[in-house]
């Protein structure tokens, strides 16, 4: 006890002698490590160091020749004082250089020099304490001048006496006399309930009758204490949780499924000693249940609670509480006379404190943090949807199961494939959240909706590997106006000349193959890079080139679409590198575009033909191919960088 005080840096009162402190320095060779141990760990006496090097911690034992001012019978011998030890360390080190080979040697050494410092520290500490004390005493506060130590102490004593007189009842408590507690019982009770931020209740085990609740229940469940006492707990528990609560209140014989698990092995202890846990006094309980919450506001309430009509209201009326407590039995001697239902001499009860879960779990339906125009999706690193929240259906028209397992690239507008693929690559290499620019997503009805997403890759905290990508999607503006989707309308125009159904499907299939493979490609790229990065020879030739350096895929796009591409495997690097600027192709694009564009837009179209030959008119699979090509291309320094974000593909 005393020793622990000292180790925590409390300067004992008896350290005031101005003579020399005698240090007995116990050390072994391993003490040499000591100065390297960070200061705090020495001070805080970390378990490891002290334990793994049991003797290495130099014990500085100071002999106090004259304990100057022991308040009580303070021991004259002090061991392991923190401050002392600190000063001792330097000593030990120099000492060690001299006697390095001596193991387990006891030295008695006298030191004078650091003593004044120790004294100073002690005084400083005392002064700080006195200052803190004076701040807590009302009569000290108004005085402008700094009071001397003794005055402060005297005032503190006066103040304590005043407090004691004020709280006489608790101080003269029977309990207090027997076993003084630092706080009066009522205060402590209050403190516990405030800290626990919950309410207490006592329920009888046989009928589930509420025998007692603390007043704070009204704050949490909005029922007054008097309303609850005497009622059955089951009337206030969610119907589906009644069995759960009964289980907790009842005997073990009825519920053989209850088991204990051992934290050390993590295995279940199968054979419980019968009745050992159940109902015996002191058995702990910890469970969750949903309890009714009166929605009526107390202040204005003067009518009976209407049985709620709608199901939604019903769910809002419950809140999840965590009950922790234990079983105990009271001798029910005085109860026997009054209550008929008590045949036992002991009444078993569950005594528990209930905390309402801080989470908004009370109202799960309202918990969804996303606004109606937002939805969350999750895709695997190759872009396949693995999670789609229900909100997506209202925005996109697809049921989640229609999207799950398919690649997100199948739904992206071809204009955006390049940008999104870039973002996808970026997000796989970054820990940051990355915002995509606005893009178009094909809805179930074939139209496009403008979205903006924030992507981040989820990295498993243990393996540090990317598990999936989370995307928070925001709907931008009104979904799908005609002006927003010129290219899709173009496509539709084109396709309307043919039979709608069959080509539509076939192009859809193609989209599936190619668009989906963009994601796969990017994922493979990541895996490759991981592999390359693992090998020491990887150097700088990472397949990833920074997105900024990556030239626009203009050229690669340009030369691709005219060629017959049937399979992504046929895409080869040589072809990519024969970047022919796609002049001919650009021309063909231009005429198709201008055909539909008002004359005023020609300059815009020229720009298009210059930098990115009308991706709009490529069929989606071709665009996808082009993106794949560009991904394969590692050193495409052709042409100038083009900011795709600022390009106006539509008017």
């Amino acid at each position: 006890m005393l020793l622990q005080f000292l180790m925590l840096g409390e300067m004992p009162a008896g350290k005031e002698e101005r003579g020399q402190g005698w240090n007995i320095v116990l050390h072994s060779t391993s003490v040499r490590n000591d100065p390297k141990i960070p200061r705090h760990s020495q001070g805080s006496l970390q378990l490891g160091e002290t334990n793994s090097l049991p003797v290495s911690r130099p014990d500085v034992i100071t002999h106090h020749l004259t304990g100057a001012m022991p308040i009580q019978e303070l021991s004259r011998k002090r061991k392991g004082d923190l401050d002392n030890r600190e000063d001792g360390d330097a000593e030990i080190e120099e000492e060690q250089s001299r006697s390095e080979d001596d193991d387990q040697q006891v030295k008695i050494k006298c030191f004078r020099e650091p003593h004044s410092q120790i004294e100073k520290r002690r005084r400083d500490k005392m002064n700080t304490l006195i200052d803190e004390l004076s701040a807590m005493i009302p009569s000290c506060n108004p005085m402008a001048r700094k009071l001397d130590k003794l005055t402060v102490l005297r005032m503190a004593v006066q103040h304590l006496k005043a407090l004691k007189a004020g709280a006489s009842s608790s101080f003269t408590d029977v309990n207090y006399k027997r076993k003084p507690s630092f706080l009066p019982q009522d205060d402590l009770k209050h403190l516990v309930l405030t800290a626990a931020d919950g309410f207490l209740f006592v329920v009888s085990c046989d009928r589930g009758k509420i025998l007692f609740t603390s007043e704070s229940v009204s704050k949490f469940l909005n029922y007054s204490r008097l309303e609850l006492i005497g009622q059955s707990l089951f009337d206030y528990v969610h119907p589906k949780d009644i069995s759960k609560v009964k289980e907790q209140l009842s005997a073990s014989g009825l519920y053989p499924r209850e088991r204990l698990i051992d934290a050390k092995t993590g295995l279940q202890v199968q054979d419980l000693p019968v009745g050992a846990v159940q109902l015996c006094t002191g058995a702990r309980r910890s469970f969750f249940c949903r309890m009714k919450h009166s929605r009526t506001v107390m202040k204005t309430e003067d009518k009976t609670i209407q049985p709620s009509s709608s199901k939604k209201k019903e769910s809002q009326r419950y809140c999840t509480v965590h009950c922790t407590g234990y079983m105990r039995s009271w001798p029910s001697t005085q109860l026997d006379a009054e209550s008929d239902d008590n045949e036992f001499s002991h009444l078993s009860c569950l005594v528990a404190v209930c905390r309402v879960h801080p989470n908004n779990a009370c109202q799960p339906s309202l918990e969804v943090k996303v606004k109606p125009t937002q939805f969350v999706t999750r895709f695997a690193i190759d872009g396949k949807f693995t999670f789609v929240d229900q909100q997506a259906t209202t925005v996109l028209g697809y049921l989640p199961q229609e999207l799950l397992g398919t690649s997100c690239y199948e739904y992206f507008h071809q204009d955006d494939l390049q940008h999104l693929a870039e973002t996808h690559r970026k997000v796989l290499r970054s820990k940051e959240k990355i915002e995509t620019s606005c893009y178009k997503f094909k809805t179930k009805h074939g139209s496009f909706v403008k979205l903006q997403s924030q992507w981040f890759s989820f990295i498993n905290p243990w393996t540090k590997e990317i598990e999936f990508i989370v995307s928070t999607n925001r709907v931008l503006g009104p979904g799908h106006t005609e002006a927003e989707q010129p290219s899709s309308s173009k496509l539709l125009d084109e396709e309307s000349k043919r039979t709608i159904l069959i080509p539509g499907i076939s192009s859809g299939m193609a989209t599936m193959i190619y668009a989906g493979s963009i994601g796969t490609q990017i994922a493979n790229e990541l895996l490759d890079s991981n592999r390359v990065n693992c090998s020491p020879s990887s150097g700088t030739s990472s397949p990833f080139c920074p997105p900024q350096d990556r030239s626009p895929m203009v050229s690669s796009h340009a030369n691709m679409p005219n060629e017959e591409v049937t399979d992504s495997d046929t895409v080869s690097k040589p072809r990519l590198q024969s970047a022919s600027k796609g002049a001919t192709y650009a021309g063909s694009n231009t005429h198709m575009d201008t055909a539909r564009s008002p004359p005023g837009e020609s300059s815009q179209m020229d720009l298009d033909s210059m930098v990115g030959p009308g991706l709009g008119i490529l069929s989606n699979d071709e665009a996808a191919m082009a993106v794949i090509m560009s991904l394969l291309e590692t050193d495409a320094n052709l042409g100038d960088a083009v900011d795709f974000d600022n390009m106006h593909w539509s008017h």
Binding site: K149, L160, V202, E338
Partner: protein, 381 residues
């Protein structure tokens, strides 16, 4: 040395001695005013007495602040209770039922009285399964309930008035500091706090008490709230309950299931009850990550818990949604602990032994919500 100087020296010595004696006397008086067991008093040194006095005054300031508010609350409540009581009575038509209620209520009141006699606070602290700590925003522990000894081996008197940072794991200091911060805490929850910290513990698994120097760390779940005391000396404190987290003696009931995971949280074992709750068969969960089973919006909750698990060895997930096979989700909370290879030779090792797996107990908190909604690939089959 002149006799004059000698005389002066003696005089100053005398004066100093008198001063020290006076000081000691005041401190002895002070220690006797502190509500401490008399057996403990002789063991206290000067700084300890002052330290405890400061704590005592601070907790009193805090509590008197409470008392004011409580009085106001109580008055308000009494009013409403009267009104509500009247309303409630009106509601009950059958006279005999009312009589029985009244009887029961008396019974409740009687029990209350009875309980008071039995030492109510012991009850409160026992129920808690932990202890109460009051910490100022600077980190001074101004109060700890005396049952801390049961859990940590350290006593109230040893700790009171000291800084919390001296007794907690250095790696957790930032988190503690964040939680003591005035503005911290989950927004909109009225300054609620919920975090894990490691505190020194001198009780071994076998119940032996060791020296503070060879103390181990014990993970505590700290939940509580911020209290600002405006009257008198300004004092801002965080009140919280500290409960050791342990999976032992968790009574498992039908709405829980246990599972084992690799350190990256993939299932390596799951008990049969999961089928009744979430409809997955245990064998098909093997190798599946818990992250695949959770709602994306709760990813952060689980990640935080996983990080705690990696750093502290134990964690409580908080509430999250777990996806049910075939559609929908349920609210759940998972308590988990890293199970390490036991090293019987050195029970208190600084170097953690290699983790074997993560043991989890998952409590299902609700029924299936939105049962028709398929959200993830894992729910389909």
């Amino acid at each position: 040395m002149t006799p004059e100087r000698e005389r002066r020296r003696i005089m100053s010595c005398e004066a100093a001695r008198a001063r020290r004696r006076a000081e000691s006397q005041v401190l002895i008086d002070m220690s006797q005013l502190l509500p401490l067991p008399s057996s403990l008093r002789p063991q206290l040194d000067k700084p300890s007495i002052i330290r405890l006095t400061i704590s005592y005054l601070r907790i009193h300031t805090l509590l008197s602040g409470f008392a004011d508010r409580q009085r106001r609350d109580e008055e308000g409540e009494r009013e409403t209770r009267e009104r509500r009581g009247a309303g409630a009575r009106e509601r009950r038509e059958e006279g005999d039922r009312e009589r029985r209620d009244a009887g029961d209520r008396e019974l409740g009141e009687g029990r209350e009285e009875q309980k008071k006699e039995m030492g109510e606070t012991d009850l409160y602290l026992r129920i808690l399964g932990g202890f109460v700590v009051v910490v100022t925003t600077e980190g001074d522990m101004i109060y700890l309930s005396d049952n801390i000894r049961e859990y940590m081996g350290l006593t109230q008197v040893e700790l009171m008035g000291h800084s919390i940072y001296d007794f907690t794991h250095p790696c957790d200091h930032k988190e503690i500091r964040d939680n003591l911060d005035l503005t911290a805490g989950q927004s909109g929850c009225g300054g609620l706090r919920d975090f894990l910290m490691r505190m020194k513990c001198t009780v071994t698994h076998k119940g032996r008490t060791v020296n503070l120097r060879s103390a181990g760390w014990r993970v505590l779940q700290c939940r509580g709230c911020l209290k600002v005391c405006v009257s008198g000396p300004s004092l801002t404190c965080v009140l919280f309950t500290c409960q050791p987290l342990s999976l032992t003696h968790t009574l498992l009931h039908t709405h829980t299931f246990t599972s084992h995971h690799s350190m990256d949280m993939r299932f390596t074992y799951c008990d049969q009850r999961v089928t009744g709750l979430l409809s997955y068969r245990p064998e098909e969960l093997l190798g599946v990550s818990v992250y695949d089973l959770c709602h994306t919006l709760d990813l952060h909750t689980l990640t935080k818990s996983h990080l705690n698990l990696c750093s502290k060895g134990q964690s409580v997930s908080g509430v999250y949604r777990v996806l049910v096979r075939g559609g929908g989700y349920m609210w759940a909370e998972t308590h988990s602990a890293v199970v390490s290879k036991p090293r019987p030779s050195q029970p208190h090792q600084s170097k953690p032994s290699p983790p074997l797996f993560v043991a989890c107990v998952t409590y299902i908190l609700s029924g299936v919500e939105e049962p028709t909604q398929l959200l993830s690939l894992g729910q389909m089959n």
